[in-house]
Amino acid sequence: MNFDFTDDQKMLKETAASFLHEHAPLAHCRAILESDESYSARLWKQIAELGWQATAIPEEYGAAGFGRLELAMLAEEVGRALAPIPFVSSVYLATEALLLAGSDAQKKRWLPKLASGDAIGAFALAERPGQNGYTGVTAALDGGSLSGVKVPVVDGDIADFVVVAAVAGDGPTLALVELPSPGATVTRLESFDPSRSMARIEFSGVPAEPLGAVGQGRALAGRLLDRAAVLLAFEQVGAATRALEITKQYTLERFAFGRPIGSFQAVKHCLADRWCDIEIGRSNCYYGAWALEHDAPELGAAACLSRIGASEALDRMATDMIQLHGGVGFTWEFDCHLFYRRAKLLSTMLGTTASWKHKLVERVSAVEEAA
C-alpha cells in the first residue's frame, strides 16, 4: 500500500511552492486581473524555464518526461497561487489532446513548442450557454475547412492553436486549428475571473485538420475532459487550501466582543466543515491521480470523483471565505474575491459539478462497480 506521492514528487511540489511564493504572490494575480493583460507572460516564461509545461511530455519531444503525478503536484501549487496563466488550457487540455490523439506530425509540430512554453494551446467545445459536453456542437469540419462559432473559449485570445470540437461528415471529430488563421475572428470576452481570459472565436472556412480519428471526437473529448478534470481538481484543492489558511488566519487576528472571531463556534464549525470538504476532495484527487498515471479503467469514475469533490470544496470555501471576512471580504482590496471568481471559473469551465455527477453515476452504474 502506497497511496501517496513519493518524496521526490513532494520535493518538486515544495520547490514549486517556494518559487510561486516569491514570483506569483496573490498581488500578481490581482495585477493581471486589474490590467488589460490576458495572462502573465512573465510568469509563463519563468515556469517554462523550470520546465513545468513540459512535465508530462515525453523526452522525445525535448521535454522532461516526468508523469502526471508530478504534474498533479505542480497543479496544486498553481492553484494555491491562483496563477494568472493558461495552465489548464495549454497543459491539461491542449497538450493532453495531442498526447492522446495527435498524429506523429502533429506531435512533432506542437509538443516541443508547448513544452517550451513558446506555444499556448486551448480547447474549444461550448457554443452556447448550457452546454456541458459534446451535445450541442454544430461547428462543421468539411474537407479541411472549419466553420462555426465557439464561445467561450478559455484562453482563446492568446492561443496559438485550438483543439475544436466539431462535427464532420463521419460524425463528431476533433479539429486542430492554428491561430491566427484567415477566416478566424477572435474576440476577447469579459471573464468572471479577469485574471483568466476567454474569447469568442468565429471560424469561417478556416483551414483545419482532424485531431485523432474522424468520427471519434465525442469519445476523445470525453477522455480529454477526464484527464484535465483530475489535474484541474488538484488546482482546485490547492486554491481551497490556500483560502482556508487565509481565512483561518483572519479569524485568529480579527477580534470582536473581546475575543478572536475564530473562537466562536459558528466560525469554528464552518471552517471544520470546509476542512473536511477539502480533505474529501484531496483524497478523491489522489485516486484520480493514481488512475490517470496508470491510465486505469477506473479513470472514468475517478475523474468524476476528483472533479466533484474538488469543485465543491473550492466553491464552498470561496463563498465562506467572504462571509467569514465580513464587510472587508466584500471589498475589492481584500483577496477574497480573487478566490470567489477563480472558483466559479474553474467549477464551470470543464462542465458543471452537476454534469459530472450525472457522468459518475452513469459510469459506475454501467460497470456495476459501485462502492
Binding site: 461550448a126 450557454p129 477580534f255 472587508v328 482590496e333
Partner: protein, 411 residues
C-alpha cells in the same frame, strides 16, 4: 383570509392612486430591477429632492410621522399602501431611506424640541439627505466596540477617527454618529451620540470599491472635526441606548432581497437553456432546485403578508425582519449561483454579448455576498433569532464589564 383591502384601506388606496396618476408615469413592468445598488449622480440627487418636496407639499411625505412633525399620523398599513402604489410608478431613486427610516425617528425620540425643529422639517421636505455613521473597521458585528473618539473642548466636541460602510455619505448633508467619549468605562457605557454636519471641515468621504465593482458604501474619515455640544443627542454616555433606537429600524428596512423578480427570470432561463438537447426545466434535478428556491421565496413573501396583516390590525410585527434578511440573502446567492451554473461551461463568462440575461446572473452572484453581510451577517441574525425569538441565552461575554481600553483586541 383574503388578499383584499378593507373598505377603509381601499378608499385610501384610491386616493393615493389618484394623486400618483396625476403626478407620475406608470413603470415599465419589463424594466430590470437594478440590484447592484450603485452610487447615484448629482442629478439623481436633485431630482430625488424635488420629488420629495412635491410629496411633502401634497402631504404624502413621511406619512406615519406625527402631524406636529409634518407627517399625517398615518397607520403603518397606509404607509405600506403608499409604498406599494408608489412602487408601480416611475419615480426617482429613493435616497431618503436612511433619512426617514432611521435618522428621523432617532431625532424625534431622543432630540430636544429645538433639535427636532432644526432638523426634522428638512428631512421631510427633502432639503437634506442624512447618513448613518456607526460601523468602524474594527467594529462591525460588534458595533459597541467602536473606537472613534470624541473629546470635549469648550462648547464643542472634537472627533477623530474613521467610520465605514456608510451608505450615501457622499451625498449626505447631515449624519448621525456614535463615538467613544470615555474609554475608561465598559464598552456600552462610554458612547455618545451626535448629529454631524457632513460639510464640516475635516470630514472626508472615500467610496469603497466593492468586489462587484459597485461603490455604494463609503469610508468616512474625521480629522479634528468640531461638533457643537448642541448637536449631541441625549446624554453623554447614553449613545448606545440611542443607537439601539436607530438599529431597531435598520434591519427591517434592509429586508428581503432574494425572491421576486429573479425567480421569474430563473424559470425563464431554465426554459431557455438546453441540457443535452432538453429544456433544463424538464430535468428533475433542475426542478428540485427551482422548487426549493420557490418555497423559500414564496415563504418570505407570505411571511411579509402575515406581517402586513398584523400591521393592518394595528399590531407590531414580530421578528420576521431578521428572518427575511437571513433567508433572503442566502436565497439570493443560491439562486444567482444556480443561474450561473445553468449556463454550463459558459458560466465563467461575464460578457453582455455572450452571457444569458446580459451577465445578470454573474452580477448577482458577485453582489449577494455583500447582502449576506450588510445590516447584520448571517451569524448575527441567527444569534438575534435564537436569543430574541427563541429566548436562548446570550453568548458568554468577556467584554461587558471591563473598561473598554482593557478589552483584548488582538492588536
Amino acid at each position: 383570509m383574503d388578499f383584499n383591502d378593507t373598505p377603509e384601506e381601499a378608499a385610501f388606496r384610491k386616493e393615493v392612486r389618484a394623486w400618483l396618476e396625476q403626478n407620475t408615469e406608470p413603470k415599465n413592468p419589463d424594466e430590470a430591477t437594478d440590484e447592484s445598488s450603485d452610487s447615484v449622480t448629482e442629478d439623481d440627487v436633485k431630482v430625488a429632492k424635488a420629488w420629495q418636496k412635491k410629496k411633502a407639499d401634497a402631504g404624502w411625505a413621511c406619512m406615519r410621522w406625527p402631524k406636529e412633525f409634518g407627517g399625517r399620523g398615518a397607520t403603518s398599513i397606509q404607509q405600506v399602501i403608499w409604498n406599494q402604489e408608489e412602487g408601480k410608478r416611475k419615480t426617482p431613486s429613493d435616497i431618503f431611506g436612511i433619512t426617514h427610516g432611521m435618522c428621523g425617528p432617532t431625532v424625534m425620540t431622543h432630540g430636544t424640541d429645538e433639535q427636532r425643529k432644526q432638523w426634522i422639517p428638512g428631512m421631510l421636505t427633502g432639503e437634506n439627505v442624512w447618513c448613518q455613521l456607526f460601523s468602524e473597521p474594527a467594529a462591525g458585528s460588534d458595533l459597541a466596540g467602536l473606537r472613534m473618539t470624541a473629546v470635549r473642548d469648550g462648547d464643542d466636541w472634537v472627533v477623530n477617527g474613521q467610520k465605514i460602510w456608510t451608505t450615501g455619505a457622499q451625498i449626505a448633508d447631515w449624519g448621525i454618529l456614535v463615538v467613544r467619549s470615555d474609554p475608561n468605562v465598559p464598552k456600552h457605557k462610554g458612547l455618545t451620540y451626535f448629529v454631524i454636519n457632513m460639510h464640516a471641515p475635516g470630514v472626508e468621504v472615500r467610496p469603497i470599491h466593492q468586489i462587484n465593482g459597485g461603490r455604494a458604501f463609503n469610508e468616512v474619515f474625521f480629522t479634528d472635526v468640531r461638533i457643537p455640544d448642541a448637536h449631541r443627542l441625549d446624554d453623554v454616555g447614553n449613545g448606545w441606548r440611542v443607537a439601539l433606537t436607530t438599529l431597531m429600524n435598520e434591519r427591517a428596512s434592509i429586508g428581503g432581497g432574494g425572491g421576486g423578480a429573479a425567480m421569474k427570470d430563473l424559470i425563464e432561463l431554465a426554459k431557455r437553456i438546453e441540457i443535452d438537447g432538453r429544456r433544463a426545466i424538464d430535468d428533475s434535478a433542475v426542478k428540485e432546485r427551482l422548487a426549493d428556491f420557490m418555497v423559500r421565496a414564496r415563504g418570505l413573501r407570505y411571511t411579509g403578508l402575515r406581517s402586513l396583516t398584523a400591521l393592518s390590525h394595528g399590531k407590531t410585527p414580530g421578528p420576521e425582519a431578521s428572518m427575511g434578511k437571513l433567508v433572503g440573502a442566502v436565497l439570493g446567492q443560491d439562486m444567482a449561483e444556480f443561474g450561473v451554473e445553468l449556463q454550463g461551461m459558459a458560466g465563467g463568462a461575464y460578457d453582455p454579448t455572450s452571457s444569458e440575461d446580459g451577465g445578470a446572473w454573474q452580477a448577482r452572484f458577485l453582489g449577494f455576498p455583500g447582502l449576506r453581510i450588510a445590516g447584520g451577517t448571517d451569524e448575527v441574525l441567527r444569534n438575534i433569532i435564537a436569543e430574541r425569538v427563541l429566548g436562548l441565552p446570550p453568548e458568554i461575554r468577556v467584554d461587558k464589564t471591563v473598561p473598554f481600553k482593557d478589552i483584548p483586541t488582538g492588536a
